[in-house]
């Protein structure tokens, strides 16, 4: 495949961003929206072509004769060459997971582009202020996310990592006249930036010891006879490990330096993927327009952390402790978010916590993946769940967007009983709920089942724990579903017309995503994606025991939700009153935000910042003021030199020339 197509895939969204950013405000709203959607449509087609070629063409640079999927560097341009070994390059790296991500990103992004054509205008057809800006930012985000997944080296990944952070910031704060949106965007940016600090330190440690940023040099070995083609090789990772251990100080504060590097890199992933305790930004990020939540905060950007761990997976395999940390963080987060999701009123917050919980599932799957357990089933399961989750969660968010668009409120208390008024939304939302709950044959069943199988082969405790969380997932999703669409008849506020389904631009993405969620589970994912590129026969490892248990748990949870929420009754209130403190704590998200506020405002601001502020104001500013005063004084002193008289100029000229010669003679002879 020629490298032209990858270049276009990256360049076109960037061009659309610049074009819409500069000229968008001059265009009519629909023109800008249409151009943005069209541009993304082209990118989507090209990405499909690329992924299809990669998976199915059988070209020798993509798949070896033995059937092993290879990693192909489509192009790699050195961008900044500092020294012979230290350089930063920008390139396009094609391997199973990046090809899969190309499909995920462009599909969801295209759906969101299309959907926003209808969403970003009110019932009278008037477009939102900044509609063109919205499309420009969507293009910027798509560009950054694509650049992130195809990075050939960890530094490129870091650059695009920050770029997605910026686009997320811009889009969360899209309604910049709303104070809550502004503070949510700042919160998201600051929290993820804080995590990225760890990421950067991790990158620097890793590259300091290994002398490279390239993924191919960290995890793969070149395939003989072909340039730019690699395959995953555990020996390379072992070589990296020995570089670390041969160093004089391989241990720092009880953990090896490689563990430190990996954990710090994982910290960046925790920030982006909203793992506890860095999850606090994601629920607030729901202040952004709902299509943005679907694209960035459900399907693509928030899984970047999972993608990062998967990308460096062979290195993580070298350090058991790092993987254990991934597992523990993931398991705790999954449970925490699921509990909180059971008590939220704002439907987008429920979905946000559900996203946190589901991403934590993927993290756990990576954490429990070991080559000796079903050949790293967890890795494949994690990527599979990433794929299916992106589709059904985008579906749920877009459905929630349709509800919010129709009702004008985020709370389910304003909804209730909408199934008759909005049938398309109702049915697609139900499909999304069934998929996430893990009901056969919807896609979530397959991916979640594989995650549970992987947990089961690693440790029984993790398996039981995650099955419990899976049950909670089914419960809170159906609680949400019933409270929105059933519970009681919808009351139409006086002076409003009845809510109705949305225009086709919004319905079409819902239907397509629902269709994908129905069939995606049957994709033979193991044949396409596995940790070392070797095809993996999933059916050979399929565990009917695990499958039936998880199905039973899901059905039981749904049944419970049905009893409690299908028809208006006093049961939920009873539960709430029986455990008032638990309910309150969960509803207030276990006071994490307050804890952060306390630490930053009370401890850090008072204890550290005051002293620093004093130092800054008096010592640093004082020095700078003195510096500026001296500069001005010196400038005053030499002012007469520029007298405006040519005689004077020539005098100084001669004196200058003579002094130049004279002083040189005196000093050097």
């Amino acid at each position: 495949m020629s490298p032209v197509i990858p270049v276009i895939i990256l360049a076109l969204p960037l061009f659309m961003f610049i074009f819409l950013g500069l000229c968008g405000s001059k265009m009519k709203h629909p023109v800008a929206g249409f151009l943005g959607t069209l541009g993304l449509g082209v990118v989507m087609v090209l990405s499909y072509y690329t992924a299809f070629t990669y998976f199915f063409s059988g070209a020798p640079e993509f798949i070896s004769a033995a059937g092993e999927r290879l990693q192909c560097v489509m192009f790699d341009q050195t961008w900044l060459q500092f020294t012979d070994t230290l350089y930063i390059s920008l390139g396009f790296f094609l391997d199973p997971i990046s090809a899969m991500m190309l499909v995920v990103i462009t599909t969801v992004s295209f759906m969101v582009h299309l959907y926003s054509l209808g969403y970003m205008r009110d019932h009278h057809g008037v477009y939102e202020i900044g509609f063109q800006r919205f499309y420009a930012f969507l293009s910027l985000f798509t560009f950054s996310m694509l650049g992130l997944v195809v990075a050939t080296n960890i530094f490129q990944m870091y650059i695009f990592w920050e770029l997605v952070g910026v686009s997320s910031y811009l889009l969360i704060g899209f309604y910049y006249r709303k104070p809550s949106a502004v503070s949510a965007s700042k919160k998201a940016f600051i929290v993820t930036r804080f995590a990225d600090l760890g990421f950067l330190i991790g990158i620097l440690i890793l590259s300091f010891y290994t002398g490279t940023f390239d993924f191919t040099l960290l995890t793969s070995a070149p395939v003989e006879g072909m340039s730019g083609v690699y395959h995953v090789d555990i020996n390379t990772a072992e070589g990296i490990l020995s570089t670390f251990t041969s160093h004089p100080a391989p241990v720092f504060m009880g953990a090896s330096v490689l563990t430190w590097a990996l954990v710090l890199i994982f910290m960046g992933g925790m920030g982006k993927s909203a793992m506890m305790p860095l999850h606090i930004w994601l629920p607030d990020a729901m202040e952004g327009p709902t299509p943005v939540s679907a694209l960035i905060h459900a399907a693509t950007m928030v899984v970047a952390g999972v993608y990062l761990v998967a990308r460096l997976f062979p290195l993580f395999l070298m350090e058991e402790s790092a993987l254990v940390i991934v597992t523990v963080v993931g398991a705790l987060t999954a449970f925490y978010a699921a509990v909180v999701a059971c008590t939220q009123i704002d439907i987008k917050r429920v979905l946000a916590f559900s996203t946190i919980s589901q991403i934590a599932f993927m993290m756990v799957a990576l954490g429990v993946a070991r080559p000796e357990h079903h050949e790293s089933l967890g890795y494949m399961a994690s990527m599979f769940h990433l794929f299916t989750h992106a589709m059904f969660k985008a579906l749920l968010f877009l459905g929630a967007g349709a509800l919010i668009h129709a009702i004008g409120s985020n709370d389910y208390t304003a909804m209730h009983g909408l199934r008759k008024h909005m049938p398309i939304t109702h049915w697609t939302f139900l499909i999304g709920c069934l998929a996430i709950a893990g009901i056969i044959p919807f896609s979530g069943f397959f991916s979640k089942d594989e995650i549970l199988s992987a947990c089961g082969s690693y440790s029984t405790l993790v398996y039981i724990w995650m099955s419990l969380v899976a049950g909670l997932t089914a419960f809170y999703m159906f609680r949400l579903y019933y409270l929105i669409f059933w519970w009681k008849e919808h009351e139409i506020p006086a002076g409003h017309h009845a809510p109705h389904d949305q225009p086709w631009t919004m319905s079409l993405p819902l239907i397509i995503l629902a269709a994908i969620s129905c069939v995606a589970g049957f994709i033979p994912f193991g044949k396409l994606v596995s940790w070392n590129g070797e095809p993996y026969d999933f059916m050979a490892h399929f565990d009917w025991g695990v499958a039936s248990v998880s199905l039973a748990v899901a059905v039981a949870a749904i049944a419970l939700a049905t009893v409690m929420y299908r028809k208006e009754n006093a049961l939920p209130a009873k539960f709430k009153n029986a455990l008032p403190n638990l309910w309150k704590w969960a509803h207030l998200r276990f006071y994490w935000d307050e804890l952060y506020m306390f630490i930053t405002h009370k401890i850090i601001f008072n204890g550290v910042c005051r002293a620093l502020a004093w130092f800054d104001r008096h010592i640093i500013d004082g020095t700078m003021d003195a510096f500026a005063a001296i500069t001005h004084k010196a400038s005053d002193v030499i002012k007469p030199m520029q007298s405006g008289q040519v005689q004077m100029y020539t005098w100084l000229y001669v004196i200058g020339a003579l002094l130049l010669g004279g002083i040189t003679i005196l000093c050097l002879m």
């Binding site: 520029q642 040519v646 020539t650 000229y653 001669v654 020339a657």
Partner: protein, 492 residues
């Protein structure tokens, strides 16, 4: 005589052809079509530039000498001339509106002829391998400029600027020729090569003085401190297009010529003599230029001092004295051309429309002319060296080149240069602050700049944004500079 050797001078010949076409066009075309003269010259120059880049540097693939070794060309030299051509194209485009303005119509042709002749002189300076040719080039590049500075006949300042320029130019030529006569006395030849060989073993006071005079003579054109005093007055008084030309093309060309003279004729005395002279001059130039720039309120005068200080940074590429330094210098000048011409484009547009050049008039410019304010901001950011604009990368590379020498003295020099960038940031941001933060009523009413001015600014802005980010540009400059030709250039 072997006429085939003229073929070595392809770039000069192309330039002369442009000159002749412009000359004939101006002479014989009817008055009405003569309004297109700026466009014609810009297009012709663009063709020459494009040909230079796409036809393998005009077929200059290896070092070539002609006329008994008085003239030399090579890929490096051809690239340098091409870089100057780019700047020339932008200047020609930007000057179009001014050249077609009321008072200028009668003299429009002369302006374009003179400006092309000065470029020819600069070509000769860069290619010269004999001091006679060099002096001819130098004068060819200097004298027409005096006429160009005086082009606004109706303005008193223009005359003042021209007389200051011509007097200093004559004076510096005298000093330069005096230094040259010392050199001739010592070496007995004016060929760079012969001087180089003949001075081997010499290390007399006479030579030091001669070298000081030569540096002073060339330093005048580069406006190195203390040979810079004409600069501010001339820049302020001259028509803006001429100021732009003086500050960018003239400076860039002289910097390359300076490098050639120092390396080829006096290369032996690098570490003993002229490294230290340049060392002192660089510190003086950057610092004094900055200190004066802080207090300026007139935009053209402000950019005059800014360009003095920028010349100091360009000199870092010479003092580095290695291939990386040369590549960094070429890149620096390329970026500097775009950044400075963006600034001058804005100043020229505003001056042509409203006649205002004071920094105080720019207060609140963002509200009335957001695009001009934005262009100016990019130019200031690039000149100050703020990433991710091209100016950051050019400063970064030129420091890298200087640090490659890895001597403590160089570290100190780069440190001083770095401190000075902080000072320069202050005054560049003053302009940005005036435009964006000061919320006075802007005295410059909203206006639409001429098409030519906009094209010029668009090109410059594109350069500012992309030169730094598109790494192949710098990589190819490095590749050219590291070719075998240059290693002999320095090791001789």
């Amino acid at each position: 005589m072997d006429y085939a050797q003229f073929l070595a001078m392809k770039q000069e010949i192309a330039l002369l052809v442009v000159f002749l076409i412009v000359f004939l066009y101006d002479l014989f075309m009817p008055e009405r079509s003569r309004r297109a003269l700026p466009a014609v010259s810009a297009v012709l120059m663009l063709i020459v530039t494009a040909a230079g880049f796409f036809c393998d540097y005009f077929g200059v693939s290896a070092p070539t000498e002609a006329f008994a070794g008085m003239y030399a060309t090579s890929p490096v030299i051809a690239t340098i001339k091409n870089i100057l051509n780019i700047g020339m194209v932008i200047v020609l485009i930007q000057s179009a509106k001014w050249a077609n303005s009321e008072g200028m119509v009668m003299r429009r042709g002369e302006f374009y002829e003179l400006i092309l002749v000065t470029l020819f002189g600069m070509y000769l300076m860069i290619s010269a391998r004999h001091f006679l040719v060099f002096v001819i080039g130098l004068e060819c590049a200097s004298l027409p400029l005096a006429a160009m500075v005086a082009f606004d006949k109706s303005r008193y300042e223009s005359h003042e600027a021209a007389i200051k320029y011509i007097l200093t130019a004559v004076f510096s030529s005298a000093i330069f020729l005096m230094g040259l006569s010392f050199v001739y006395g010592l070496a007995g030849s004016l060929y760079f090569d012969n001087i180089y060989m003949a001075l081997m073993g010499h290390n007399t006071k006479m030579l030091v003085v001669a070298l000081a005079f030569v540096i002073a003579g060339i330093g005048f054109k580069l406006s190195l401190v203390p040979f810079h005093l004409w600069t501010a007055d001339t820049y302020q008084g001259a028509p803006t297009s001429v100021t732009a030309y003086l500050s960018v093309i003239s400076k860039g060309a002289t910097a390359f010529a300076f490098l050639t003279v120092l390396a080829q004729a006096f290369g032996l005395f690098y570490s003993q003599v002229w490294e230290w002279m340049l060392y002192a001059l660089i510190i003086l130039t950057i610092t004094v230029g900055n200190l004066f720039a802080i207090r300026q309120r007139n935009m053209k005068r402000f950019l005059a001092f800014s360009s003095i200080s920028q010349a100091g940074y360009i000199m870092l590429g010479i003092i580095a004295y290695n291939a990386l330094g040369v590549a960094a210098m070429m890149f620096y000048i390329l970026v500097y051309i775009f950044s400075n011409l963006a600034a001058f484009g804005v100043i020229g547009a505003i001056e042509n429309a409203t006649g205002r050049v004071s920094m105080d008039d720019y207060n609140g410019l963002y509200k009335t002319n957001p695009r001009l304010a934005f262009t100016m901001m990019l130019a200031m950011f690039s000149l100050a060296g703020i990433p991710p604009f091209a100016g950051f990368f050019s400063k970064f590379f030129i420091f890298t080149g200087a640090l490659q020498a890895a001597s403590p003295a160089m570290y100190v020099l780069v440190l001083i240069a770095l401190i000075n960038t902080i000072v320069s940031l202050y005054y560049y941001l003053l302009v940005v602050k005036a435009m964006f933060i000061k919320d006075d009523e802007c005295v410059i009413a909203p206006f639409r700049s001429a098409c030519s001015e906009r094209i010029g600014m668009w090109i410059a802005v594109a350069g500012i944004i992309f030169l730094g980010l598109v790494s192949p540009i710098y990589d190819s400059l490095i590749a050219i500079a590291q070719s075998s030709e240059l290693s002999s250039f320095f090791l001789k």
